[in-house]
Amino acid sequence: MSGILARVGYALALPVVLVAVWWFASAGSTDFYFPPLSRIVAVFPDTWLSSRLADDVLPSLTRLGIGYGVALLAGVALGLAIGSNRVVAAVTEPLLEFLRAIPPPVLVPILILVAGIGDTMKVLVIVSGCLWPVLLNTVDGVRAVDPVLADTCRTYRVRGGRRWWHLVIRSASPRIVTGARQALSVGIILMVISEMFAASSGLGYAVIQFKDGFRIPQMWSGVILLGLLGVLLSVLFRIVEHRVLGWYHGSRDGPRER
């Protein structure tokens, strides 16, 4: 109980201080682009808690969920292939590095050609960003499998899918989780970017619309919503991670009680 209280305390202390600083520092602001926090807070409910929640936020989150999921699966699958096979790695690495460095505004026209301007394209934009942290970390994780464990699997003839799961994926899982964590916030960013193109609704679209329409308090409220979304998703992520990586945290922190 006191543990939960302490956690909440830790989670809230700094934000409360920062919000207070922001609130008072911006209180008398006449700067168009840095409106008083009180105004941002005042427009928040009208901006987001109306129909926008269903019309803009939900579709965005759905696309984010799908894109993130696809990126996870693809990143892990590709990462396993590349991490465990040196020829595959040698052939694909420069190409992937090439693709990785292409900025979304240039990538989007191509995506439009192959995937149209609908949700598929936006999901692909999200995938195109979330993929890399997962992929790179998976490759590293696969390559760092403990050689003694690998030998154990070889001698006991643990092979095929069982080997992939019980040896490769599980031992790479801390790295995969690192990548997944990284990808989560990249995903939110790309959710916004994807809605810069061919959109007429969505959270990112709304934020950009506010920006272009010079409705700066509303834009700020959108930025805050994005941040809150990040916090919420990270809490969910931590819950999942706690289950998936229980063994890892146990083995890393176990006897550390000082």
Partner: protein
């Protein structure tokens, strides 16, 4: 935040160093031409042009004093001013040709499209470079004029460069493109169904040069000189289309054979106040503005 620290105090005998934010499109040809012709030098203005892809960066840069002047479409300026942003138009930018079917921008469909008039767009999807702005407002007016219900048209945001491909592959039913993309669509066999800028208002002022209220208060003389130089540049451009085409080739990468075919906007020296007022009404009707704009406060 940064007030006037961007504008250099005019030292006696020294030209004013001025930065102007522009978009690398043909609409801004007059300022390039004016610089070349020395219209700004004559007035002790030394201009640096900064190119940005869209208006996103120009308005804040001007308001904060990082740029002294900027180029923006009229609706953005109307919205900005009605939202309380201290901007002020100092010069006309460019206008539609005013000739239906022969403008520098058009609402276009594919060759084999069943869509004949803007009214047929009901229930269809139209690409616009940005939403809630001059393009969709003008297109809605075309729909209205053709007897359709503009609320039944779906708009989707798509940058101009991506529109021809989206149209060709059937992703959207119609596009609203400016030059040189009008030529690109035509080259694919596309067809114009309306000249929306012409439909919106006669001789519509599409874009303008603006500055901040701050600069206007601090250095009214500079603003006046800029306005004069611009007026001269605009007139010159309007009467020398071939030089406009040549100068476009210098700051864009439009292919020479396309440049020849481009339909140029017109460059009257004065803002068409009436057209701006009409535009402001349309913007209000379409919900772009939350309250009626004070056109006089915005325009010089």
């Amino acid at each position: 935040a940064c007030g006037a620290d961007g504008a250099d105090e005019p030292a006696p005998g020294q030209p004013d160093k001025v930065t102007v934010g522009v978009i690398p499109i043909l609409d801004v040809a007059p300022i390039y031409l004016g610089i070349e012709q020395g219209f700004f030098d004559e007035r002790d203005i030394e201009i640096t042009l900064e190119q940005a892809e869209g208006g996103a960066a120009i308005v804040p840069a001007v308001v904060s004093g990082q740029y002294q002047f900027g180029f923006s479409n009229m609706v953005s300026l109307l919205i900005a001013s009605s939202e309380g942003l201290p901007v002020k138009v100092v010069s006309n930018g460019n206008n539609s040709t005013g000739v239906d079917g022969e403008d520098f921008a058009a609402l276009m469909v594919k060759a084999d499209s069943p869509i004949r008039t803007a009214a047929d767009l009901e229930g269809k999807t139209v690409a616009a470079n940005t939403l809630q702005n001059i393009v969709d407002t003008s297109v809605r007016q075309s729909v209205r004029k053709a007897g359709g219900d503009p609320t039944k048209v779906r708009f989707t945001a798509l940058p101009f460069p991506d529109q021809p491909a989206a149209l060709a592959s059937g992703q959207v039913d119609a596009v609203f493109v400016v030059e040189p993309f009008q030529q690109a669509v035509l080259a694919e066999g596309g067809r114009a169904i309306a000249s929306s800028y012409v439909d919106a208002a006669p001789n519509l002022t599409v874009a303008a040069y603006f500055t901040s209220q701050q600069l206007l208060a601090d250095n009214p003389d500079l603003a006046t000189r800029f306005t004069e130089a611009m007026a001269e540049s605009l007139s010159y451009a309007d009467s020398h289309p071939d030089e406009v085409r040549t100068i476009i080739a210098s700051y864009t990468e439009i292919a020479p054979e396309v440049i020849e075919k481009l339909t140029l906007p017109t460059f009257p020296p004065e803002v068409n106040r009436e057209s701006v007022a009409t535009l402001a009404d349309l913007a209000l009707e379409d919900g772009l503005l939350s309250k009626a704009a004070d056109v006089d406060a915005l325009l010089p």
